[in-house]
Structure formats: C-alpha cells, structure tokens
C-alpha cells in the first residue's frame, strides 16, 4: 500500500469514526434550533430555519437558571475545597517523602474504589438526620470527598515535576513552609493545579448518582434537571436538546482544553 493511499484511507476512516461518535451530540445541537414539530418530524428535518425559541424558553423558565447556578456553585466550591485540603498533603508527600508515603498514597486511591451505591443507605440517612438532603452544602461535602483522592494524586504528580532546588533555595533564604508553598510552589505548579481543577470540575458537573439520590428541587444541579425530562409529560425534544446543549457546552470545552492532563488524572499516573 503506497503511503498516499494509506493517507487517504486513514483520513476517511478517521473522520468517519470521529463524525459517527460525534453524531449524537451534533444531532442534539441541531435539534435545539428546531421547532418542536420539526424536532419529532419523520423523515428528520435536515434543512430548517434555525430558531432561538427553545433557548429563550429554557431561559424563561426561572428554574433553569437556578439549576445551572447550583451546578456552578457545587462544582466550583467542591473543587476549591478539595484543592485547599489537598495542596498541603501533596506538598509534603512530593517533597518530604517518608517510608509511609507510598502506602498513604495507595490507601487514598483505594478509598476512591468504594462504589457509591454501597454507601447510599448510610449517606442518605446521615443526610436526612443532619438536614443535608437537598442542600447545596450536602452536595458540596459529597463532591469534595468524592474527588479528594484524585485531586491529591494529580497534585502530587505535578508537584514531583517542580525542581526541588528552587524550593530549597527559598528555604535557604529563610522562607517558611507556608511561604514556600504559596510564593514558590503554587506559581510554579500553576498549570498542573489548573488542569487538576478542571478535571475536578468536570467530574462534579457530570456526577449523576448522588445528585439524583440526594437532591430534589432546591439543590438539584443540571444532571438532575435534565433527568426530569425523562418523565412522559416532559417530552419536548427541542427544549430538551437546547437545555442539554447548554448543560454540556462548558464542560466539553474544559475537557478539550485539558485532555492530556486528564489521562494522567484518570489513570492515577499509570499512563502518561
């Protein structure tokens, strides 16, 4: 096979596969700009004059915005908290490893292996007794805990890449641990911290087990809001598509931006 021919072949197969995988998302995007009648028309409408009415309708529903705000608040606050708790731990494990460090890291990883459904019952009852059901605080707590191991791991692998000499020089100049972290380590590891935060936000945003089970109208994020479209009386495909497009767009962009670092985070550094 000549290289020109194989080039054409990989072009056709590559784009074919990419478009096939992307098709459901593309179709959702298009459906969001159709009228409800066009959305369920068969044969499907390929050419239509795009309408913004679904997006307007979605925004006019006062509750859509509150669900979106819930998603933003829960993802951002839980991520910030997880980073805050994880930075000191990752710092000492990366720069002052002891003989227990390896075991500690692996143990932290193993806490991530607990299937959420295994602890659904106690979490539900604890949430009920502490008045946390359907509150943003409750979801923030769960999401922070859920992502803490991954955040520690990712920060640890990024911190390991910072040349220790720089921190050491700072230490010689009399920097205390706190200054060393805030003035030297954090700026140097900023790209790593950014991609760790992105991964954590993506995981929180798309989380759909705890949000479906522990939140209702008050604290429900977008995952739960979209699920409410599954009830028979909610079959408005064009509006569902518009709402879904809005719900996934920011995360899709985040995911595309951080795909490389994501591999590291998702495999706990086992694949680089």
């Amino acid at each position: 096979m000549s290289s020109a021919k194989s080039g054409v072949l990989s072009f056709v197969l590559g784009w074919g596969a990419a478009l096939l995988l992307f098709f459901p998302i593309l179709w959702m995007l298009l459906t969001g700009f159709k009228t409800e009648v066009e959305a369920i028309a068969t044969p499907p409408t390929l050419f239509f004059s795009p309408t913004m009415e679904n997006y307007q309708a979605v925004f006019q529903r006062a509750d859509y915005l509150s669900f979106a705000i819930n998603s933003v608040v829960v993802s951002v606050v839980a991520t910030a908290l997880a980073i805050l708790i994880a930075v000191p731990a990752a710092y000492v494990m990366a720069f002052f490893p002891t003989k227990r460090t390896r075991g500690t890291l692996l143990w932290m990883l193993s806490t991530k292996m607990m299937p959420p459904v295994g602890v659904l019952v106690p979490m539900y009852l604890l949430f009920r007794d502490f008045g946390l059901l359907d509150t943003l605080t409750g979801l923030v707590i769960i999401y922070t805990l859920m992502n803490l191991p991954i955040v520690i791991w990712m920060l640890y692998t990024f911190f390991k890449e910072v040349p220790p000499e720089i921190l050491e020089a700072g230490r010689m100049d009399g920097a205390r641990a706190k200054q060393e972290v805030t003035l030297l380590l954090l700026p140097l590891a900023l790209p790593g911290i950014a991609s760790t935060s992105l991964l954590s936000i993506i995981l929180c945003w798309n989380e759909a087990f705890w949000s479906l089970n522990l939140s209702a109208h008050n604290a429900a994020p977008l995952t739960a809001f979209i699920a409410s479209f599954s009830s028979p009386e909610g079959l408005f495909w064009a509006k569902l598509s518009a709402a879904s497009t809005l719900a996934i767009a920011p995360i899709l962009v985040f995911g595309w931006m951080s795909q490389r670092q994501l591999v590291r985070g998702l495999t706990f550094g086992a694949v680089k």
């Binding site: 072009f11 590559g14 990419a18 995988l21 992307f22 459901p24 998302i25 179709w27 068969t42 044969p43 994880a86 000191p88 731990a89 000492v92 002052f96 490893p97 002891t98 003989k99 460090t101 390896r102 890291l105 932290m108 292996m113 299937p115 459904v117 295994g118 602890v119 659904l120 019952v121 539900y124 009852l125 805990l145 803490l148 191991p149 520690i152 220790p164 050491e168 230490r171 798309n206 759909a208 087990f209 479906l212 089970n213 995952t223 979209i226 699920a227 599954s230 569902l240 879904s244 719900a247 995360i251 995911g255 595309w256 795909q259 998702l266 495999t267 550094g269 086992a270 694949v271 680089k272």
Partner: protein, 304 residues
C-alpha cells in the same frame, strides 16, 4: 527513603535532611488523611451495621436479624438477575470499548488532514453528562417512531426497532459504550504515542507490514494501558446508574436492573434499609476484588 523516590529524584528528601530542615509533615497531611478516613469508615461501618438489622423506614421497630437480610437477599431471584445483568453490562461494555478504543487509537495515531480536530470530536462523548447522553439516545436516536434509527430502518424497508422494549439491555450497553469508547481511546492513544518512533521505524525497515506492526509492536506495548482501562472502567461500570434511571428504570421487568439499581429500589423506593445495606455490602465486596488489582498495578508503577 521510600520506594517512590527510587525513581531517580531522591534529592528532595535527602537534601532537605542535609540542610537540617526536616519539617513536620503530619500537620500538612493530617486533614486529608482524617477526612478520607472518616469518609471511608463511617458509611462503611453503618452499611455493615444496617445490613444485620431488620430496619424499614416505614416501620419504627429496628431489630437485630443477624444474617437474615443476606439470607433473604441471596434467596431472592432478583439479586441473581441483577448480578447477572451487572456482569453482562460490565463485560459487554468492556469488550466493546477496549476493542473499539484500540482500533481508534491506532487510527488516530496516524497523521491525516484535520486529525487534531477529528480527535476532539471523537473524545467528546466522554464529557457529556450521563443523564444527557441517556436521554439523547433514548429520544432523538432510538425512539421507534420519531428517532433517527427508526427512520433509517424504515428507509431501507425494515420494521423500526423499539429498542428499549425489544432489546433493553443491548440498548443500555450501546449508550454506556458510547460514553466510554472515548475514554479508552484517550488513554490508549496517549500510550501509543509514548511508543518509541525509532522502534516503529526499525520494525518497518525490517519489512513489518501494518498487521504485524500492530500485533508484534503496538499491542504488546499497549498491554499495561489496556489493563488500566479495563480496571478503571470496571470500577465505574459496576455502578452504572443514571443511564438506567432515565431510560428503562430497570425494566421491562428486571431486564436492565443491575446491582446499583436494585439497591436504589430497595433503599429509596421500598425503604428497606437492611436489605439495601446487605446489597451494598455485596457491591463493596465485588468492587474490592477489582480494586485490589487496580491498586496493585498502580503500586507497581510507583516503584518503576
């Protein structure tokens, strides 16, 4: 000195020690460890405790029942159906995503016009929240009357398929696979790209065709990455929930009820705290068998 630092960057700890600036690590690491410890132990202990109690939220009497919940659960055919469904779901999705992911990774490793953009399109499904992907597939694609698939089968003269009624499990498998193929692709592509170009070049010089390249150079190199994909996916696939929740609600009958959904039904719809907890313990045991291998693989990597 721990095994972690054996990888060559022994400097940090040793020089820290040399400069006599050994810092107390405990205050730094204690918050994380304590939080994770509580997060792990409290719910686990409660699950274990409830699993030996007769406890229904509708009934104020809570009493010790020993292994009663387990016995009841193990004698209940729906548990075995759910276990079987869980296995079928996990096994099928794993097979589909690993095979498709490997082929796609080889494909996207090639240079072709626009390959960067095509890669972005291909990994997009991974970032779609589960409730959205389930509803998009259920309505826009798989709906027998108004969906695209129905239209396609009618246009070639076939009866449209009522996916969730006729092939409920296959439908769920399709949706979940669509979400996880990009994950396998992303990890395996990264692994392929870390393969030495010189090695590939040398094999090509020796006259290796594309097939023998794949089987003798690429596939062996991917072995570890594939095992990582399998293990991490297994952890998540064991507890697939949202996709079932919005499409089939476990039905028809028990056709798509996996372990996660069964526990949800027991706990939050039937208020049977004891029975659900016993199910939870079974789920935890299953996950731990897998987790053991994940942790071992990652640990090996830490030492390397």
């Amino acid at each position: 000195m721990s095994a972690i630092t054996a990888s060559g960057d022994v400097k940090p700890a040793s020089s820290a020690r040399r400069s006599g600036q050994k810092i107390r690590t405990l205050p730094f690491i204690a918050p994380s460890v304590l939080i994770l410890l509580v997060w792990m132990i409290v719910p686990l202990a409660m699950t274990l405790y409830f699993s030996v109690m007769r406890y229904n939220l509708l009934n104020p009497v809570v009493e010790f029942t020993g292994l009663g919940n387990y016995q009841y659960l193990l004698e209940d055919p729906s548990l075995w159906t759910a276990m079987w469904n869980t296995l079928v779901l996990v096994g099928s999705v794993l097979a589909i995503t690993v095979v498709a992911g490997t082929l796609l990774a080889v494909l996207f490793d090639q240079e072709f016009p626009g390959c960067g953009i095509a890669r972005l399109f291909a990994i997009a499904p991974f970032f779609v929240m589960p409730t959205v992907s389930a509803l998009i597939w259920k309505n826009l694609l798989m709906h027998p009357i108004n969906g695209i698939f129905g239209f396609l089968s009618r246009s070639v003269g076939l009866e449209p398929i009522d996916w969730f009624a006729q092939y409920p499990m296959a439908s769920v498998i399709m949706i979940v696979s669509w979400q996880w193929i990009p994950f396998a692709l992303l990890i395996l592509l990264t692994a392929i790209q870390s393969l030495d170009n010189e090695q590939k070049e040398a094999a090509r010089m020796d006259g290796a065709g594309p097939l023998s390249m794949f089987f003798f150079i690429i596939l062996p190199h991917l072995g570890r990455a594939i095992s990582v994909v399998v293990m991490i996916e297994t952890i998540f696939l064991l507890t697939v929930f949202a996709e079932i929740f919005v499409t089939t609600s476990g039905g028809p009958g028990l056709a798509t009820t996996n372990l996660a959904f069964l526990i949800y039904v027991r706990a939050l719809l039937e208020f049977d705290v004891g029975g659900a907890s016993a199910g939870g313990v079974i789920a935890i045991i299953l996950a731990n068998i897998v987790a053991f291998f994940v942790v071992r693989t990652v640990a090996r990597n830490l030492e390397a």
